[in-house]
Amino acid sequence: MMQRVFAQTRSAALRHRYDFCAGCGHGISIRLISEVIDELGLRERTVGVLGVGCYSTNPVTFDFDCQLALHGRAPAMATATKRLQPDRLVFTMQGDGDLAAIGTTEIIHAALRGERFTTILLNNANFGETGGHMAPTTLLGQRTPSSPKGRDAEQHGYPTRLTEMLALNDGVSYVARVAVDKPANVMRTRGALKKAFQIQMGGRGLSFVEILTACPSGWRLSPVESLRWMEDVQQKTYPLGELKKPAA
């Protein structure tokens, strides 16, 4: 007699299909966030603050209250929201362009203040929504429409280490970098998200989960090739692991 062992989760807005490109890692991340929120029973007490990118301009991302922020500004909105509603689960979900380019001021100062929300960074090594342009997370040698000969340190500078820099601040309690490229990493991503949300509900300072996600369209690779590139190339610059954990 077969038992159902897996079903799609409530908060992952099931009434509409996702308009992401085939193989986009954002869809997996959004589903995992939804699964954890539903497992923790927090759907009706959650306010998501979404940055600007493919992950927020879908008609529907999550089936709970969300605020749509201006580009880079989600941590400022989340600061006010969490301080005014401290018993709610408040998280920002931002792309790498949103957070590490235009939004550096807001995330750094939220980290300095030790704001008690969670930031989820979707790192796909480019500005996906505009067409795959160079972002602070674009790797050296990576070709994009705005670095057509490949990112060159002399001309374009180096990829950011913003995540590592955030971990240095006392106001930050948890920093993890995970990926959704293969099944084991998908499970680790789910674990990191759950840990981050539990840390928030336990009253600790800023928790931060960076998720490496595939962008087949931006990278001009097939979905499966994109997953290989993540492991072979992207994770050399952005290694996975827990960068900071709360003291026991």
Binding site: M1, M2, Q3, R4, V5, F6, A7, Q8, A12, L14, R17, Y18, F20, C21, A22, G23, C24, G25, H26, G27, I28, R31, V180, K182, P183, V186, M187, P216, S222, P223, V224, L227
Partner: protein, 80 residues
Amino acid sequence: MPATARAHGTIAIDPERCKGCDICVHYCPPKVLRLGPQRNTLNHRVVELFDPERCTGCEICAKVCPDMAITAVYRELRAS
């Protein structure tokens, strides 16, 4: 539980959500998935479970799918 047991499962696929990205096919351990000839209304080829006997219900396809196209996974234990 029998002394030796084998997992057997099946999945439910929402063809309108599938984009034929091939990721589940790539990661399926018993290799029982493939992109079928049918296309959905967005013109994507849709994944199909072509060898249901050998599906183990491991859930990997559902977990790596970016589009929530695998809407359910079922599993039972059989004597081998």
